[in-house]
């Protein structure tokens, strides 16, 4: 009877210890720092439908740790979705798309998106060795980190040539224990940091709502440019070449 009670007590203690170990070793959380643009408040502006103009994605540059990457359609879509939520523009034309004419007034956007990733690889490898050497007993108390920073720059060019720059930067860190590591945590971190960054960027954009209202600024007057191209006379020419006159008219 005494032996049974003793064994039961140890069984319960063992189970509690196992559960506590499992829960603490699977812990993970994400810290996202506030964006660096300083604009935190949410602005709300309304704009009549007939005042909206199309927004056309002109260029999109993506880099990771300073190295240029192929443009990601996911990032582009996410930025365009954020712009769409502001209701500032009538239509959004992605990269390579053709804008439908709206009285000739369009806003073109050039987007630059820089990602900085610091997985603390060296520290993580050392911590991994320590965790393994301890037969995983240290896994609940050794914390692993993964840093991600997103910096977005928008350059909006109005139909009259006026260019306005917007910039926002946000960063965050995923903290996790060994058994809490998962690609999902990293995706969550990137998603949250990007969301914070885009919110800041859109706040700046909404503040400038009057800049992008169709009635505020007329289209620049159409002008006809005449360019004269004169072919160079070859030294061995037998007949004189005529002078060509080419007229170009900018698209309305």
């Amino acid at each position: 009877m005494i032996m049974t009670t003793y064994a039961f007590r140890w069984l319960v203690l063992g189970l509690v210890g196992f559960v506590v170990f499992g829960m603490t070793a699977c812990t993970r959380w994400i810290d996202v720092k506030p964006p660096s643009s300083g604009l935190q408040e949410t602005f709300s502006r309304s704009i009549p439908n007939d005042e909206r103009v199309p927004l056309v994605m002109d260029t999109f540059r993506l880099s990771q740790n300073g190295v240029p990457q192929n443009p990601s359609s996911d990032v582009e879509r996410r930025v365009l979705n954020a712009v769409q939520e502001t209701r500032l523009f009538s239509t959004l034309v992605p990269l390579g798309g053709t804008p439908a004419s709206a009285g000739g007034k369009t806003v073109t956007v050039r987007l630059t998106f820089d990602e900085t990733i610091d997985p603390h690889a060296g520290h993580t490898a050392l911590k991994g060795i320590m965790i393994g050497a301890s037969m995983f007993l240290l896994s609940p108390i050794i914390e692993l980190d993964y840093d991600y920073t997103a910096q977005a720059r928008l350059e909006l060019q109005r139909w009259d040539g006026r260019v306005t720059h917007y910039e926002a930067r946000s960063s965050g860190t995923a903290h996790y224990n060994l058994f809490g590591a998962s690609p999902v945590v990293i995706e969550e971190l990137k998603g949250q940091v990007m969301e914070t960054c885009l919110n800041s960027l859109m706040t700046q954009l909404v503040q400038d709502t009057p800049l992008y209202m169709a009635s505020k600024t007329p289209l620049p007057a159409s002008t006809v440019h005449t360019v004269t191209v004169k072919a160079r006379r070859p030294t061995t020419a037998y007949t004189p070449l005529p002078t060509a006159h080419i007229s170009t008219t900018p698209a309305p």
């Binding site: 990733i117 690889a121 060296g122 993580t124 393994g132 945590v185």
Partner: protein, 183 residues
Amino acid sequence: MAPGIQANDVSPMITVGTQEVGLTAGYMLSHRLTELHTTKQHGPALMPSWMMTLTDPIGDSWYRGQVSIGAEMVYLQFREPILTHGIGITPRIKYTFVALGRLRPYLEFAGGPFWTDLGGNIDEQANEFNFVLTGGVGVSWFLTPQLAATAGYRFHHISNAGTAFPNLGLNASLPFGGFSFYF
């Protein structure tokens, strides 16, 4: 190969937190390193394992690779000098070279407690409770982004860390092959 599918399509995207479950099997062949070693232990080995990728690829050259850590269970059947068995569980650390796409060589090291009833029945080892240390090289060939065939070689050492005497240690080569699943 199906139309439109390139060789690179099966290159795995292994990131921080990617887990690997593997099963390898091999055959242990003894090395008698001194004149005092007389046991010709040999037999099959079975090694199920679990690994967690700890880092994104490190480095920019041929040595670009990832560190992963995990645990492995090792079962050995000794067919000589008498039919006995051994079982152990070991933490395992692995460095995988990623520069070659779907072909991924790796270095590995593992060590941990090991119980075998061969101990006490041979001149080299006095007791049943021992430790196993292994180090080796291998290569994984990704058949799909999530499934890889693996082959490699390990040097295998069993001893009791001086907890009993004699403690000459048992050394062996262990060529192995198997499969790993990544998720």
